[in-house]
Symmetry: C2
Subunit: 202 residues, 2 copies
């Protein structure tokens, strides 16, 4: 790791919010393998501009984003460019798991850690309310489209140390959650690592 990079550790089933200025680099790392990281972003200081899977699908004409793809906001501005990707399979379809997800899909009663709450807490200092959280770019999440459009959540393809490198194209408030739903992470929720470089790397 370049010594000018700052390293963060997101414990299992928790989230982190941070500022990323235009030109800064963000590496999302799966330290132990098969762990999903839900990533959302807003234009810094403007909760009305958010990372949009629909705009990104439209302009890239694919469901699966990888090296070279640009991720767009709802206002059609580039938010991130994917510079490197050692996995090549990430999801952009699924909303973050929430209390309702666990209740409706898995019959869980009572509280369960969930990415929607993690992202809400992570972004609260930026004035982002829960209802504004869009579908995340679900780094390392492996969703296959089967015959007739049927969707199947499979174990991530990421192995220990795999990562994806993003460049911020505008100033951003970013939230990342170490996904809390066993099913997406091959039934073992682990940590997520981040490394952030300044806008100009020496």
């Amino acid at each position: 790791m370049n010594p000018t990079w700052t390293k963060y550790h997101i414990p299992p089933q928790t989230g982190l919010g941070f500022t990323l200025l235009q030109g800064q680099l963000l590496r999302v790392i799966d330290p132990e393998g098969e762990q999903v990281a839900d990533l959302v972003a807003f234009a810094l200081g403007d909760s009305t501009e958010w990372l949009s899977n629909g705009r990104t699908f439209n302009y890239n004409e694919t469901l699966y984003m990888t090296q070279g793809h640009v991720l767009y906001s709802n206002k059609s501005r580039p938010m991130f460019t994917i510079l490197e990707d050692s996995v090549g399979r990430h999801d952009f379809l699924y909303t973050p798991c929430s209390l309702e997800t666990f209740r409706i899909r898995y019959g869980v009663q009572g509280y369960h850690p969930n990415c929607l709450d993690n992202l809400t807490q992570a972004l609260a200092p930026y004035g982002i309310e829960q209802h504004r959280i869009p579908t995340p770019f679900n780094v390392f999440m492996n969703v296959e489209v089967l015959e007739g459009g049927r969707l199947k959540i499979l174990p991530p393809l990421s192995r220990p140390g795999d990562s994806i490198l993003l460049r911020a194209e505008i100033d951003l408030a970013v939230g990342v959650s170490a996904c809390s739903a066993g099913m997406a992470n091959n039934y073992r929720c682990t940590a997520i690592g981040l490394e952030i470089a300044p806008a100009v790397v020496e």
Copy 2:
């Protein structure tokens, strides 16, 4: 048509906003065939609860919604149930076409009618701001997922008179746009018909 139903006509490349109370039925009709209708909805009086493709994908485990499927809000409440569907192919991935879509995808300079503006105008009386417009349920839009997740917009499968019938599961503010992008409508933008029944049909 049952005489208690009210009929609306949405001219080509325009939109319409209306209230739909719990239990009311909405039929969306393609009068001439191969025409897409972008449909968005909000909980009536609450712009923070909106029709969510991501929640709908999650709970139905498919990209393609048809008869029997429930469409959910971002807060995981059922908004619509699809009661009938004479086409069986609708899109829920693509954001509404916007000025930026025409500029970025098609190099159009200056103004072009677009679904984002149509929906914004249609929902303005309900206090819905443009940045809150989510990915619509794109009725009759035909998007195929090809090898490796590549997306391809194909002509709609709808023929003249085809329709889909939805039941409102909560009180809703609904916006519908007769899609303004030639590409989605086999290069001929035509009208959309609506029929709305009261909550109790006699």
